[in-house]
Symmetry: C2
Subunit: 236 residues, 2 copies
């Protein structure tokens, strides 16, 4: 891409969780419509429809090659397909290259594991989906149980819906609170979870170890070295 805007690239890949990307894209595209030095794009290996972890398919606007040096990068997560994507050399290669030159490197949910695999989290504090948090250690990152974590130019969010909070924070950081507040009104982001805030004493799945082991074995059957590296961090 040759335009002189600051490009915010949202990455898509097979099996990802769409909400991880669509929440922040909505917020940051709202910013770009006001702060016109920014532009959002959706980047994939191809421009063919990408399957996700629900029936919806997404279509990228650009290929990796077309957006080699975005200003900012946002990587969404998912469950087993995201673990599988840790072995996707084209994706990881793109993240490594784009991430090294980007001013801002961000992720939602297990997108941070992909950043880790691309070598971008070494020695950093990072967030991810609560179920996968310990896996961050496999990439030299320090897991943090926060909604989002800012460590220099790397900003990682917790699971799925946390991407909306992350993105509003990014807007505030990039262009200030006034525009962030306007976007919050435009998306009417005044959450009222019907069952109230998360009560961690009611956390489902109990001991995560068997579930994580099953997921890893399923997702990374063809990648035993990577699987074993992550298996070392499935918890007590």
């Amino acid at each position: 891409m040759t335009d002189d805007k600051k490009i915010i690239a949202f990455v898509v890949y097979p099996g990802m969780t769409p909400l991880d990307m669509v929440g922040p894209l909505t917020v940051l595209d709202g910013m770009a419509s006001t702060a016109q030095e920014y532009r959002t794009v959706v980047v994939g290996e191809t421009k063919d429809p990408v399957v996700t972890d629900n029936p919806l398919k997404l279509v990228a606007t650009h290929t990796y090659d077309e957006v080699p040096s975005p200003y900012a990068l946002l990587v969404p997560g998912g469950a087993a397909p995201t673990l599988k994507a840790l072995a996707d050399e084209k994706l990881i290669g793109y993240l490594r290259k784009a991430g090294e030159s980007a001013e801002l490197v961000t992720s939602v949910c297990t997108g941070s594991l992909l950043l880790g695999q691309a070598g971008l989290l070494e020695g950093r504090r990072a967030a991810t989906h609560w179920m996968f948090r310990e896996f961050l250690r496999a990439f030299g990152a320090e897991p943090v149980a926060e909604r989002w974590v800012e460590d220099g130019n790397v900003i990682t969010a917790a699971g799925v819906s946390a991407g909306i909070d992350l993105a509003l924070h990014l807007v505030e950081r990039l262009v200030g609170a006034e525009i962030a507040r306007t976007i919050q009104f435009v998306i009417e982001y005044d959450p009222e979870p019907p069952l109230g805030p998360l009560d961690w004493s009611k956390r489902p799945y109990g001991d995560l170890k068997p579930l994580l082991e099953h997921t890893l074995n399923e997702a990374l059957a063809d990648e035993p070295a990577l699987r074993d590296r992550l298996l070392a961090h499935t918890g007590k």
Copy 2:
């Protein structure tokens, strides 16, 4: 569709706001993976990629004809393109027909205006995006300033992000609080808006009348009768 599952149909149309649909789809597809009598589908006029109000394009799984009688319907909203869609006879015809037989008719944001145009809100209490609330009166509905409003089998949500709350409520209504809570954990929905809750004293755009008139004139230039019907409700 001939399978015997309860089909939850998420409608897509050009220019819509993806988050309106992707939030609830994530939640309700999570429900369908546990409560397997349900199935989510994405329904559009065609299965070609649909442009949205941001760079992302979405791809439906089914056409209107393939899902004539869903168990539940969810209609997302948007800004000017959604007003334009009020004159989309194929979309409105589908909503009218599917909506009449559906057990649950739901919308997010200005999706409720489309339900209204399809004749499904007559005499009902309904929600929509705060900026467009008075327009509900043009369809015989009573606007309500709540996160979501349940009036019989018609459940309408406020703007954009309110679809997540709506969907968690639907899960609770359909299959109970335990599954709803599990999904809330899976999407880690424990919002922390960086600037806190919406403070309506800081509402942007001031008097909405000029903005709404401009939007209506732009979106419905070719539909003067419909435009004038809505213009009568742009506020004082």
